[in-house]
Symmetry: C2
Subunit: 268 residues, 2 copies
């Protein structure tokens, strides 16, 4: 545990049988909830504690119920460890908001499966994707933190132009490119990328809609270099009330370090 906000907020207490206790604060969500990427990263950190490889090359989380601040339990099941890849599952359970810890049954909030390996030294062999073309962070606008969204205070954002939704005028184009980093200067690593892919406003805000994640898959492609991370987010298809969102994270050296896709439900 390093002395940064994320590490303190995901401090895990190991119990028997690969179980971990963690208490979520109200600082990693908003409106009484907890951010989905944050819960995913807490589960990934618990899995990392029991697997023999350091990097979560692919993680999938199924969002069963909204998370809330309070005591939580992460039960980890190592599934298989091979020569280069290891697999595990994590189940995050919580007590319903306001329920007394004694007597109430914990309910599963998030089911995570993950494959871990070692991506140190991974170098690109083929690339048809390029980093977002963004002005230097110093030449970008800070995206104002939202007073009532505690989560937005955990990160610093720099945008080339302020998004339409921020001015109350959604552009109709659900895509965005911007810089992000932890507000307290914590360097990103492969364990926090599953949080950062979900740390920006949903692209569908530009459609005047809100979004509830059903499933989020993250590929971690390389270890990030220190510094600002360049992000590209886009929703390309909305149908029957469901939408996907793709997210790319490129590090300060111009390397693709994470890709994610989520399926989410549109709401107003």
């Amino acid at each position: 545990v390093t002395d940064h906000e994320f590490d303190r907020a995901t401090q895990l207490t190991r119990s028997a049988d690969d179980g971990f206790a963690v208490t979520f604060s109200d600082q990693w969500g908003h409106a009484g909830g907890v951010n989905g990427g944050f819960m995913l990263a807490a589960c990934v950190k618990a899995i990392a504690a029991v697997l023999p490889f350091p990097d979560p090359i692919v993680v999938s989380g199924m969002y069963l119920r909204p998370g809330n601040p309070g005591p939580s339990v992460v039960a980890v099941e190592p599934i298989r460890a091979g020569r280069t890849t290891a697999f595990a599952q994590a189940r995050l359970s919580q007590f319903p908001p306001g329920a007394p810890a004694e007597g109430a049954a914990a309910r599963e909030v998030l089911r995570v499966t993950a494959a871990f390996a070692d991506v140190s030294g991974a170098t690109p062999q083929y690339a048809a994707l390029t980093p977002p073309k963004l002005p230097d962070p110093a030449d970008c606008e800070p995206l104002g933190r939202l007073p009532d969204v505690a989560f937005s205070h955990r990160f610093a954002y720099r945008v080339p132009v302020l998004p339409g939704w921020a001015a109350g005028k959604p552009s109709g184009e659900p895509s965005a490119e911007f810089w992000i980093r932890f507000a307290d200067g914590r360097p990103a690593d492969t364990l926090t990328l599953p949080l950062i892919v979900d740390a920006a406003a949903p692209a569908v805000l530009e459609l005047g809609a809100r979004s509830t994640t059903i499933e989020l898959t993250v590929h971690v492609r390389a270890r990030p270099a220190p510094g600002w991370l360049a992000c590209r987010a886009a929703t390309r298809y909305v149908s029957g009330g469901y939408h996907e969102e793709d997210f790319e994270i490129w590090d300060s050296a111009g390397t693709l370090v994470a890709q994610s896709r989520q399926l989410a439900l549109l709401s107003r």
Copy 2:
């Protein structure tokens, strides 16, 4: 069960406790293996038998070990059923190839999580994606079935131009657009789309490489209309030996019915 190859090959015998027995033939893989999408679809079919909603809106499969023809068991765990969405997990286990069924321990081959809902009547509300621009199937070339790849006989493929890899000259561009349908005329449905996203040659054949799937996520966006399915496959980033492959399936009415992304290991 309808009287088509896929349905017979995935005939499930329900045992106690949401367990299902299924015997894989040697007709849905090659080189002694079983196709990953086929195993995923078998698990999705088992999950569909226990959940209250018909369509797998998102499915994630972790490929723990290679699958092989022979007896298999799918253990389904319903996780949560809400008002519009239900979640479940499936674990597919097999005996090692050549091992006697008695005495040998079954080993888990595939771990699947899925969310089901009802996408009947889903219509597009926003689209920044368009269907592949392909000549009519009748004006395309049939892609020859490979004599030693039984799996390739389960589908019919129509391509605008023969791919480089098929002539032994990989193009260096790992992407493709083509038509596909079941060879025996079975209509695709939302339960078979998780197979069809993995039913074509990997795009990285155009890099002169082969591919081993680690994880495959499928979003089912709509119920497919009858007829040929237009597909778009692309690998856009290869790094440290890992690559992603994105796959889209558009039905004959021009509707996006499935999107998938897999993380896979490159091999020679």
